[in-house]
Symmetry: D2
Subunit: 143 residues, 4 copies
């Protein structure tokens, strides 16, 4: 059962190196912020990050889709707070909503869909049972 | 008037540095490939790249939205051919469709929406007239 | 006077996204880790990060030289502890030593030389007096 | 025998995405430009890029050392011409000199040392014989 309201927050220090000559984080960096937040969600909520998941459990989660809205420019002046929620859990597919805020203002809203695969064959496969059980308790469909 | 079928192809050499331990281009790199293709479209079709557009013409084109579908894994084994089309042109907004192929197979399909701004104020503004005229001749609404 | 032994430690979570198909952090990422540690040193020790230094104080610190030795592979399995020391302070030039460790083992050792410039002219200039005084108290020539 | 003067040139289009708010390529991008040039050298001169070398020949070339001097700021206004030379060839180690120029002006000069390893064991090993022979003909010690 979904434990309503489960939200994981991952803070990112945006840096000079992330910014382009417009003095804001380059567009191409922003999906990377959101992906970093999802990787951090795995480490915190499932207890295993993408690296260990792939190498130690032979399980990958390649993305099949992503969409993002950029709501206000991102700069190094404030921490970028990224909220991650697992919003859908299928047999092999997972959907994450990732929202970014700086200084109380929405920076971006994104949705990311990935699929569990057997890493050494790149073949869709149900998630390992232990992870799936944990995930079921975390789905936050209400958003 | 839209000159039907205007398509710009930008080739990218995918490299070792783009790949993660799954031996494929990291998800976070792929929006960057598409953005590079759009920057190359500006240079080829409008005659000015993002850097010059911002610094020399005081015009930025920050993105407000992007969505991508990842259709097959991207590797360094083949050139990544990125097709860029301008599919919508509003008063300040532009929509680009970017599709990537490797070895004849679809790698990704994406849509990117940006808005022209006065660069030093980050304020939406119509595109400079000369660019707008060129763009009108390039819109490929049929896709 | 140099306060002997001043060392700043900046921790980096190495991620899947940093790694290449050899399952270790890509070489090109490693100078970026060290630079991030230096930017963090500025924020912690001087009270201003590179972004604010450039935009609010019109002072840049472009690098003129760097050298790194890679001592053992870097992976996401352990925190990357980066130690930053200011080892030389000239009229306009600064030298930083940055060392990285994972799990008690040396990962890299690097030296980075930068020069203060007036940001809007890219012209070498002495550091602002307040920063210079703070820096003088931090130089750790013994290494 | 060294064929004196063998120089490989790899051109890079520097982009908006490579630049920071100082309107020049970010320092952390520059080692990546040089590494890209070395990867391109492998593809052109040895006939195999790093990706294939690792995956198809079980041979990696991790870097053990790099040093770079930054001689003038790099911008998108001119092509970055990177010259790659193999300057030393040991039993397992190789040294590359990579120099970057824009518009006839030196941008950077760098030296990169790597070691051949058996990729699946990360253990130093002599290069495969075919590659070694090709490399011997390419060493340009005079620089």
């Amino acid at each position: 059962m979904a434990e309503s309201g489960d939200r994981f927050v991952h803070d990112i220090t945006v840096r000079w190196s992330d910014c382009d000559p417009a003095n804001i984080a380059y567009t191409g960096r922003i999906p990377n912020f959101a992906l970093e937040a999802i990787d951090a969600w795995w480490a915190a909520k499932i207890g295993i990050d993408w690296f260990e998941l792939n190498l130690d459990r032979n399980t990958g989660t390649p993305f099949v889709k992503l969409s993002m809205e950029f709501l206000s420019p991102i700069t190094p002046r404030h921490t970028l707070r990224c909220t991650v929620r697992l919003t859908k859990l299928g047999r092999t597919a997972m959907t994450f909503a990732v929202d970014g805020h700086q200084d109380g203002k929405a920076s971006f809203a994104g949705e990311f869909v990935c699929v569990a695969v057997q890493a050494d064959r790149f073949k869709a496969t149900p998630l390992p049972e232990d992870m799936r059980l944990t995930m079921e308790s975390l789905v936050d469909a209400e958003g």
